[in-house]
Symmetry: C2
DNA sequence: CGGTGGTTTGAATCCGTTCAAGAACCGTGG
DNA sequence: CCACGGTTCTTGAACGGATTCAAACCACCG
């Protein structure tokens, strides 16, 4: 196996920062720029550590500064659903802005760093930040809709292909390579997010690999033919 | 078929307005109260009419005042997904607050009435309203997560049961009967929302009906045993 | 009336799940 | 360094629930 790759690690991007597409990034980028001048508390986390838990009082939002997080909701009877994977620039915790407690868990999938943004700060002079938060909420909502659409209309192989394309685009927007990536999540977590069993994820990756569109080596994935992946999603 | 029932129709609720649960309603109720004093333009719509379309410039948000709407997103290759059904008090259009154009279609499923809330109003003295909008966005996001969880972990019968329970609760929160309801959407629309085929919806309703938990007569549904429906969802 | 859109029902098929087993990988401690 | 236990990943085979395709039915409306 090759030496460690940066990707979602703390190492700064080599290329220029986000430039195009994702409105999520656009809003979040604005957020990060706005906050850079304020002295915020930083939270360094290791794998599997919780940034916050559902039910805990939510006194702050968190901006992912490095690493990778998953957020997941839990039903009373123990069913769990991962609602998203989050990279640098993503905002966590805004979903429970109208609640006294967090509505989901946020768990580091890797060595990660998050900036704490106390809610009382949003009330005061940082109303601009609150507005930014509103915009990221809207963008998050639309992103969820896109995944709902995908999960409701695409087969297993297509879902996995879409996930890889989406992740590649997000990595590229952060200055990383859009072709070579190292997944931070297990097959089970990926399956949970895509509403598939982990075995199905494995098989889908296997088939994509067999058709030459990607190369798979455990969690290390190389996209050989992004256009081919996109073509899989049509119709 | 019996005479027309009120339910989501324009007729005012007989009982008291929303009182308990749904945080969505809580936030929206606040919104409606806030706006009642302002002279807003009203839009009366008939079945299948568009309140707004994806791609249209979004100059305003809309508060559902009467009737029932569906919102749906569309992929380039024609796949469609209904993201929600909306009753009185629900806010439409906030999802594209950070965009110049709407991101979804909003279509009346029934004779409906919506209040137009121009975005420029939100900038000025109505900052309080904007804050309310933020809160409803957060609540919407969580609601989406709940449905993602449901669609990813529940079978067809369970999804339909959950939908009926959810709709019943929302109707009750608006002063209507939580036992007797008239669906405003087709089996196909329901199936689309629940990520099922329309035939599957029909069969699921049939099975729930056969087990005595509900009574089905076309779009007219009576919940005989809400607790039994809830029991279906456990585990 | 015929036509249209919506619903129901049946039968065959298919895709993803489930269950089971084994392989590969990882961090840890002897 | 290697042995170890636990986690993660892969692969196979059988199963099952939802889909697909087809047909008939119904209510409503022009």
């Amino acid at each position: 196996m090759p030496a460690s790759m940066p990707l979602t690690r703390a190492a700064p991007p080599s290329g220029p920062p986000a430039r195009h597409c994702a409105s999520v990034s656009a809003a979040s980028a604005g957020l990060e720029a706005l906050l850079r001048q304020f002295p915020l508390q930083r939270h360094g986390l290791r794998r599997k550590q919780y940034l916050f838990r559902a039910g805990q009082p939510c006194r702050a939002l968190f901006l992912v500064h490095a690493g990778c997080f998953k957020t997941c909701v839990l039903s009373e009877d123990g069913r769990e659903k991962i609602t998203g994977f989050h990279l640098r620039g993503d905002l966590l915790g805004a979903d429970s802005l109208d609640l006294p407690v967090h509505a989901c868990d946020a768990i580091a999938l890797d060595v990660s760093d998050a900036w704490e943004l106390p809610v009382w700060m949003l009330q005061g002079q940082l109303a601009g930040v609150l507005h930014q938060v509103t915009l990221t909420l809207a963008a998050d909502l639309r992103r969820d809709w896109q995944w709902m659409l995908a999960l409701g209309t695409l087969g297993a192989e297509q879902r996995v292909a879409l996930f890889l394309l989406d992740l590649a685009a997000r990595l590229q927007a952060r200055g990383f390579s859009p072709r070579q990536m190292l997944l931070r999540m297990t097959r089970a977590e990926l399956g949970n997010f895509l509403s598939l069993q982990l075995e199905t994820v494995t098989r889908a990756l296997g088939r994509l690999s067999a058709s030459g569109l990607i190369r798979v080596n455990g969690r290390e994935i190389r996209i050989n033919d992004a256009e081919g992946l996109r073509r899989l999603l049509e119709r």
